[in-house]
Amino acid sequence: MRILIVEDDLEAAAVMVRGLTESGHECLSAADGEAGLGEARQGEFDVMIVDRMMPKMDGVTLVETLRREGDQTPVLFLSALGEINDRVDGLKAGGDDYLVKPYAFAELIARVEALARRRETGSVQTLLRVGELEMDLIGRTVHRQGREIDLQPREFQLLEFMMRHAGQAVTRTMLLEKVWEYHFDPQTNVIDVHVSRLRSKIDKGFDRPMLQTVRGAGYRLDA
């Protein structure tokens, strides 16, 4: 994946470049908004990571400008501002996801990969298939090896999200944000309990577990 990092904190940018490169991505970084806009206009990127507050041109203006020009590259905003309003502003400006600083690197990489994936599966799907697992989005049914799996509505949503991001690590925060639409940080392991229930439904009685725990990051659904 080609990733553009627009971040004025050079050390933070260097850490991101290193981490993303080690994960097999190709990175380019720009140190301010104007430089970032120039790079974004020239190159084809799969995802852009944009800091909100930068010299010369702030992240929101940068993304608004690109969106006006018809550039639909997914954007992950990074911000030291964590209030709900800031998040809403960022998403309104055309951002696709929002990560508050400081963040765990696993969180960043999970979100970047999720954004890139979303772009690939842009067309409307009615059937999701990950290995032996099949989800009918219209009939709201799930089968593994042809055997029907009975899921609660929320478990269905959880599995749908995991199937759409199969092969990638998704974090607990991402699940809480994208499946439950809450943006806070629970003190207890609520998400783990929901995932382990889902796991017992889709993996129990089968020879090979599909839902994996990724240490230090979250979970991953493997084909």
């Binding site: 209030e83 809450y182 940080d185 207890t188 309990v193």
Partner: protein
């Protein structure tokens, strides 16, 4: 010259205005009384004189001047209160009880006049008595004057007029005195308010306006001012406390982090220790510091904003149902009996995200502190006051009554919870969220103590209905 303070007060000015209106209507009232009494007396005298005049004229009509003259002489001799004068057409006196007409000139038409008659009392002193008379020309050309002594009627009128003046003066005095009392009362309350404003301006946030319990506008203003000051004072104290608390609570984990890193560094230099474990621990500690920081910031922002951002209208039961759905599996896994009682059909205007977080915090706490085999109940109901109440009740150890106010404060953790994770910010955030929505948090005992279990804790978030 500066008027004394009381004359400059708004209430006093209003009193004067009121008094002026009052005096005007009182004057109209008194004038009516005057016309109806004193005026009536004068009219009665005029009527009597007119009647006497007609009687005499009819005597004259029947039998001429001599008969009239005779009648006058008879009448003057009797005890009648009338004065008579019969004159020739040129005005010369023919007969009567007075020497000459009090009229200076006479053009022949019936003419009324008020005049004085001079009498002598028993001691021979001269007394002027008021009188009234009517002069007319008779059909034969002679002039007849009929008058009456009205001293008694006059005295009656004077009494009435005096009484009216007295009443008027009394009205003014009473009105003024009432105005002074009212304005002094009002301005005393105003002075109380002004003093508070002055004190606050000079930096004394503990000043409060006296509330008299009369529930009038001024009292309401005083109550409002006091509430505003309470909030301001709490907020200021909160800011100070936040600063102190952040310094304190971030310093300890940072110190610990630093010490661990230093120890690991020394270990690694000496060729022992596990660098990976040291780093993992350091990251964990850093996350803890960041979490604390985030929570303190969220509370401080809510308190500073004073109101929750982006409120929307929703059914509190829907939100609670979402939270139930999120937490029920966790309760089950922890061996806790979870129940929900959600009253439907109410509405609140609130920030959904903050409310969800507040409920999640309450659930987190309940799950954390309730031992296996206990029970947790999430409830949404309408209070008899109309307020909407969310409550989470557990069967954990509870919070002793004397600590219930304290645990809501930032960073306060009770001794028996020190070994559990958390920064002591959960309830503070719940309280901040409740207050930002114009509500409050109430802590009370749970279901009670049964053997080793309980007494439990019940935390309620009470919000005004939308």
């Amino acid at each position: 010259m500066r008027l004394p303070r009381i004359f400059r007060t708004t209430p006093f000015r209003l009193t004067l205005l009121f008094l002026a209106l009052f005096a005007a209507s009182a004057s109209a009232f008194l004038a009516y009384i005057y016309i109806a009494t004193a005026g009536e007396a004068t009219r009665r005298v005029d009527q009597l004189i007119t009647r006497e005049m007609r009687t005499l004229q009819s005597a004259y009509g029947r039998a001429g001047t001599d008969a009239l003259n005779q009648a006058l002489i008879e009448r003057a001799a009797s005890e009648r209160p009338y004065l008579y004068l019969l004159m020739k057409p040129d005005g010369a006196r023919i007969s009567g009880s007075i020497e000459e007409s009090p009229l200076e000139s006479f053009n022949g038409e019936a003419t009324w006049t008020s005049f004085q008659v001079t009498e002598f009392d028993v001691q021979g002193r001269e007394i002027d008595r008021p009188a009234r008379g009517l002069q007319e020309r008779l059909s034969g050309g002679e002039i007849l004057f009929v008058g009456a002594d009205i001293a008694e009627d006059e005295a009656y009128v004077v009494k009435i007029v005096r009484a009216l003046w007295g009443a008027g003066a009394l009205i003014i005095v009473l009105g003024l005195a009432g105005g002074v009392v009212v304005s002094r009362n009002v301005s005393r309350s105003m002075t109380g308010l002004t003093n508070v404003v002055d004190a606050v301006r000079n930096g004394d946030l503990s000043a409060r306006a006296p509330v008299r319990g009369t529930r009038d506008e001024l009292d309401e203003l005083a109550v409002g001012l006091n509430e505003m000051l309470d909030r301001l004072e709490r907020s200021m104290a909160g800011h100070k406390h936040t600063g102190d608390a952040i310094a304190h609570d971030l310093r300890s984990p940072l110190t610990r982090l630093r010490a661990r890193l230093e120890a690991s560094f020394l270990d690694l230099e000496a060729g022992r220790g596990d660098p990976q474990a040291a780093f993992a621990q350091a990251l964990d500690d850093t996350d803890g510091v960041l979490k604390t920081f985030g929570a303190v910031l969220a509370i401080a922002r809510l308190q500073a904003a004073g109101a929750a951002p982006d409120p929307v209208l929703f059914d509190p039961a829907d939100l609670a149902a979402d939270i139930c759905e999120l937490y029920e599996p966790l309760c089950e896994d922890d061996g806790l009996d979870f129940k929900a009682e959600l009253a439907r059909g109410m509405a609140i205007r609130a920030n959904r995200e903050f409310m969800a977080q507040a409920l999640a915090n309450l659930m987190d706490n309940a799950i954390k502190y309730t031992p296996k085999g206990g029970a947790i109940m999430l409830r949404v109901r309408r209070r008899s006051s109309g307020e909407v109440e969310f409550s989470v009740t557990d069967t954990g150890p509870g919070v002793p009554e004397e600590d219930r106010t304290r645990v809501v404060e930032r960073f306060v953790r009770l001794e028996n919870s020190r070994n559990l994770p958390g920064a002591g910010l959960g309830l503070s955030l719940v309280a901040a969220v409740a207050e930002a929505h114009g509500g409050r948090v109430e802590l009370s005992e749970g279901p009670g103590k049964v053997g080793e279990i309980g007494p439990g804790l019940r935390v309620a978030v009470i919000l005004p209905p939308a």
